[in-house]
Each structure stands twice: as C-alpha cells, then as structure tokens.
Amino acid sequence: MISIFVLDADGTSHTIEAKPGLTVMEALRAAGLPLKAACGGSLACATCHVIVAEKDFDRVGPPSEDEEDMLDQGFDVSRTSRLACQISVCAELDGLSLRLPRRS
C-alpha cells in the first residue's frame, strides 16, 4: 500500500491508501473522491484529469502523445497535468501529491 495526498477542488485535503497494480484513478475512486472516469479508464475522455505536484512530476513522468490528445478536452491543463487512469500505482509513487482541477 502507498499513500497519495489529494487536494480536492474545494480545497479539502485527503490522504488515501492505494494498492500497487491499480491506477491512480481507481485508487481515488475507491477512496470515494469525486473523480469521474466516464470512459472507464480507456483513454477516451479527460474526466480523470489531475494535476501532479511539481515535486512529484519527475517520478510520475509526462503524458504520452495519446494522453495529450485527450488532455485537449480538459480545462486548466498545466505542465504537470496527467490523466489519473494512465498512472499506475507503484511503490515508487509513495507520498505522491496531486490536486483535482476546478469543476464546471
């Protein structure tokens, strides 16, 4: 199990436990956070858009070209934005910090 720190759109902090083998999207949803995954994690939408903390971006890595194409449908996309369904939970990401973008 690893820990992920999430700041939601209302400014509330959450600490969640995530199992290696799942994606960050699955971990956040399992923890009850309001992260949508309209396409079920198949890289066909941008509803699981998260912003990774600067300090953790090197660990997580940049989005793939296909992911960039879907991020075009997101809002307030930053340099450290990722689609949570494309980030695999692993030991190396323990202590990962991210925030959820503002909602429509």
Binding site: K36, A38, C39, G40, S42, A44, C45, A46, T47, E68, D69, L71, D72, Q73, G74, F75, D76, V77, S78, R79, P101, R102, R103, S104
Partner: protein, 360 residues
C-alpha cells in the same frame, strides 16, 4: 411539438446495450421506443471510439466499435423500434401500472416498462468551468454552430484543438469580423488538409492563433459577452474582445434528470436487483454501465446479458396474464421473429460452415 406515443417498453439510451435491448424485447413480442440524447445511435462506441477495435465481445475476436453498433442496429430492425434522437428523458411519472417518460421536446412516451441503458448518463458538450458561463449559453456561448452566417460581422473566439475547433474556425472566418483560435498547445488534432487551410488563413490574417493559451474567465455586461480572458501556460493573461465563444472540448456524460426519477441510486449509478435488473421502482429497469449491483462489471457483454434479463422480467409486467413460453431464436416455428430479415446472414453462415467442413 408534444404528442403521446404508446408502446410496450421505453428504452432510455441507444448505446450498445440499449440497442441490444430492442432485440431482447422484440424477441419476446414487446415493441419499443428508444430515447437518445445524441443525434446518432451508438453511445460511447459511436461518439468516443468508432474506429477502435473491441476484443472482448464473444464471437468476435476483434470488431470495430462502429461495426458492432451497425450489427446491433440490424439485429433490432425486424422489430421496428421508434427512435427519438436528440432527445433527453427528462421526467418519469406513473399512474398505476402505466409509466410515462417525458422527453426534451415535451412529447410523452407511455409504456408498461422502462429500461434505462443510459451508460454514464446523456452525452452533452464539455462545459468550461468559467464563472457565469451557463447564463450565456445559447446567446454568446456555443458548443456547436447551426448556421455560420449568424456570426457575420461578429468577433468570435473558438477554443479547442480538434477537428471541430479547426473546421469551425475555417468556416466562420468567411463570415466573422474576427476569429481567434485558442488552444493549449502547438499541436492540433485534425485532418492535414484542415491544418494547411488553417495555416493559410493565419498567414492571410483571417484567423488569429493564440497558442499555448487556455480560457481563464469571461467578461460579460448585461447578459452579453464582451471579452474573454485567456492565460498563457506560463501565467501571462490576455484579453480578447469578442461577442461570441465557441467551446469545442468534446463531450461527456451526465446523469442529469435521471437523478430525479425517484429511483434508488448509488452515487452516479442506479441500484438494481441483479436477478431481475429491476430498480427500486416496479417495471423500471437499469442495464449496462448505469446499473449497479454487487459484483457488477462494466463490460458490454455483461450489459447484453442484463438487457436479456430485464426483457424477461419486463415480460411479466407487460403481459401479466400471459404465461411465459420459452423459445430459442433458432426454433423454426418461432412466431415472433421475422426470419426473412435475417435470411442473408443465415445463408452466409451456411456457406462458412460448408467451407470449413471441406477443409477438414
């Protein structure tokens, strides 16, 4: 335009599962009306990934999503479903055993049972999270263009990086006083010919390109848009004076009015009895991604089975005085199936089987 339609089953959603429900119901002698928010059937398969191959449909090692939809439409055709495209189910009411679904244009569909196959909810355009945007929708903020000529002499900002944004920028540049295309990165996802045309229009000054920028805020006065604030990826803010914003950020689904249908929900999904697919409301069923029960998997094949189960249970609600006589679709005496409609496929199957037996 308001009229009353009467049918056995009202199906909400014409994605793969809703379409399969047409056959499942028809096979049991039940007619249906199908309500779909988009202007075309197919749900996510058509709207999000028509070209993508699906590998987990039993009987199809690989099938393009659009092909699966075409086959499902063909399969349901013998049962003459009525489609209400571009309509959302907005209200569900009951008078005894009679259910009524009201749709966006005010029409009502009366049915003995309702099957909700809404996926994640009706698809709608992605709305930028900008303060005050909702009140400007339809007047100064748009998600599609019905008639390019209405923008004659206007200043318009188009936000997005795909085919829609680029094609509309090209089309509107002929009418608008100014067209500014705002996109978060250098790369546009569109046909090469469109990219070329975009570049020509940029060089001739017909289209202004603001890249890499994103929408930051709207400035409106007395209900009319006056300017759009955009910000550069490094934080710089700029303001573009415009009367209109066209936002092209794709589509996604929303449970919307289904949330107020008076049926038990679990988060964004509808709770069902897994043995009947019935919701907390008698004769109202939920199937596919929108349904929730312990162990539910979000698979098309699972949804197909759920639609068959819902149809079987609905039969008892629609024909409470008729015993259920089970018949396989292969039964040559089956009275409900119009076998002629499937004859072409039957012949193809015979040829395939003959060829296979010759090879062995």
């Amino acid at each position: 335009m308001s009229h009353l339609a009467q049918t056995d089953i009202a199906i909400i959603g014409a994605g793969p599962i809703g379409l399969s429900a047409i056959f499942a119901c028809g096979h049991l002698g039940m007619r249906c009306h199908v309500i779909e928010a988009l202007s075309d059937v197919g749900g996510q398969c058509t709207a999000l990934y028509p070209e993508k191959p699906i590998y987990d449909i039993p009987g199809f090692p690989s099938i393009a999503a659009a092909d699966l939809i075409a086959r499902l439409v063909a399969q349901g055709r013998p049962f003459a479903p009525h489609f209400h495209l571009g309509q959302q189910a907005v209200k569900l009411t009951r008078a005894g055993d009679a259910l009524s679904v009201e749709i966006s244009d005010g029409s009502t569909i009366a049915a003995r049972a309702v099957i909700i196959a809404a996926g994640g909810g009706a698809f709608g355009p992605n709305r930028p999270p900008l303060a005050g945007i909702e009140s400007l929708e339809g007047t100064s903020v748009h998600y599609w263009v019905k008639d390019a000529a209405t923008f004659t002499g206007m200043r318009i900002v188009i936000a997005g990086g795909g085919d829609s944004a680029v094609d509309w920028a090209i089309a509107l540049s002929q009418y608008a006083r100014s067209v500014t295309l705002v996109h978060r990165r250098e790369r546009f996802r569109c046909a090469p010919a469109s990219l070329q045309k975009l570049d020509e229009l940029r060089r001739s000054g017909r289209i202004a390109l603001k890249v890499p920028y994103q929408l930051a805020a709207l400035k409106a006065e007395s209900g009319k848009l006056e300017a759009i604030e955009i910000n550069h990826v490094d934080g710089r803010h700029e303001q573009i004076e415009a009367e209109h914003l066209l936002a092209c950020f794709g589509i996604s689904s929303n449970l919307g009015p289904l949330r107020d249908f008076g049926i038990a929900l679990s988060g964004e999904r509808i709770l069902v009895d897994p043995f009947t697919m019935e919701t907390s409301e008698r004769a109202v069923f939920a199937v596919g991604d929108v349904a929730r029960y312990s162990g539910k998997q979000q698979l098309i094949v699972t949804g197909f089975a759920e639609a068959v189960t819902a149809a079987r249970t609905a039969y008892d609600r629609v024909f409470p005085d008729s015993p259920f006589h089970f018949q396989h679709s292969t039964d040559r005496s089956a009275p409900h199936l119009n076998l002629e409609a499937h004859k072409v496929d039957t012949e193809l199957m015979t040829v395939a089987r003959t060829a296979a037996s010759i090879e062995t």
